[in-house]
């Protein structure tokens, strides 16, 4: 009995999760669109949740707005633009590619290229150091002395 209760309690959060953001008065295709659009939009009150996940009042209102606009026959693009016009590009979880976000999008790529260039250069410099600088006579003599010492110890 105890186990059953525990199991039911564990299942409880799942039920809550499923209830989230699922518009009931839309057909399945439109409902999926509503959830997809909502998942792209940041909840400005909570900031680290999308409006699909959040239960903040504003998120509820904005979900309603999304549902209504879908019913009114708006395209996904139009609905997202509606939000951006009012709340700014910050509402988009995936920032658009433009001049202000250039560094954001290309920064990691530039860093990776820089790292590869630095890596290749280091490797080449090392090769050059080994190949282009043969041992001097003194070094060779020292090396032979050490090797001889080792083989004597082993022998």
């Amino acid at each position: 009995m105890k186990r059953l209760i525990a199991l039911l309690m564990l299942a409880l959060p799942l039920a809550v999760l499923a209830a989230d953001a699922t518009p009931t008065d839309l057909d399945p295709v439109a409902a999926k669109r509503a959830v997809d659009i909502s998942a792209q939009l940041r909840c400005l009150v909570c900031q680290n949740q999308s409006i699909a996940e959040s239960n903040a009042e504003l998120a509820v209102d904005l979900r309603r707005q999304v549902n209504e606009q879908i019913k009114a026959g708006k395209t996904d693009r139009e609905i997202v633009d509606f939000m951006v016009d009012r709340y700014g590009e910050f509402v988009l979880y995936k920032p658009p590619f433009n001049l202000t976000t250039l560094l954001l999008w290309l920064g990691p790529l530039a860093l990776a290229v820089l790292a590869v260039v630095a890596f290749v250069r280091t490797l080449r410099a090392r090769n050059r150091a080994i190949v282009e600088r043969p041992l001097t006579d003194a070094e060779r003599a020292e090396a032979e002395r050490l090797l001889a010492q080792v083989s004597k110890e082993q022998g």
Binding site: V45, Q47, D61, V84, Y87, G88, R126, E139
Partner: protein, 193 residues
């Protein structure tokens, strides 16, 4: 042991150029620390409004005290005015309120209240208790006009010019400092133009 030989077979770093290389991580650290330090003083809740410089969205809503009368922003054409979003359930509005009452007493600027997602009775009670600084308040019961104005927290205040263009948006309570340093000079300038 001769100094010229080290385990990697790399010649020892003698040129000053390679010595400077060791300063690169320090330089990167300083730049990074600079950015992070700056970040300490940024408020992530202050999202710049895309509505600045755009015409204030139109609406027509019933007034809080005179339910049979509506208000629309174009009625304020020719005046510099404030649209203040407030609610009786909003704690920060309580904090802001004395300043608004003060401004209203001085007739500093017309203030229209957008009573956001509130119950009319509670809103009226709140104003009766704390003072009513608004020329009038309108009821945005379901928050639709709030969405048009990109409201995501209360209080928010929009400064609107004679031509109905939004010039400034204050997110959160108007403080004494914001009023004297930013809003008042802007209002005076907008009145002259």
């Amino acid at each position: 042991m001769s100094e010229a030989l080290n385990p990697d077979g790399v010649p020892p770093a003698t040129e000053p150029k390679s010595r400077l290389r060791f300063l690169i991580p320090l330089a990167i650290f300083i730049v990074l620390a600079g950015f992070l330090f700056r970040g300490l003083f940024l408020n992530p809740r202050e999202v710049p409004s895309p509505l600045i410089g755009k015409p204030a969205p139109q609406f027509s809503l019933a007034q809080l005290h005179q339910d049979d009368q509506t208000f629309a922003p174009q009625q304020m054409q020719g005046q510099v005015w404030l649209l203040n979003v407030w609610a009786s359930w909003c704690v920060a509005c309580r904090q802001e309120h004395p300043l608004l009452v003060e401004l209203a007493k001085d007739k500093a600027v017309p203030i229209v209240g957008l009573n956001y997602k509130d119950k009319p009775d509670e809103a009226k009670g709140w104003l009766a208790k704390l003072g009513d600084p608004y020329d009038l308040s309108v009821k945005d019961r379901d928050g639709r006009v709030g969405i048009e104005y990109g409201v995501y927290g209360v209080p928010e205040t929009f400064l609107i010019d004679k031509n109905g263009v939004i010039r400034f948006k204050q997110i959160g309570p108007i403080t004494e400092e914001v009023w004297t340093k930013k809003m008042l000079p802007m209002i005076e300038e907008l009145r002259r133009s």
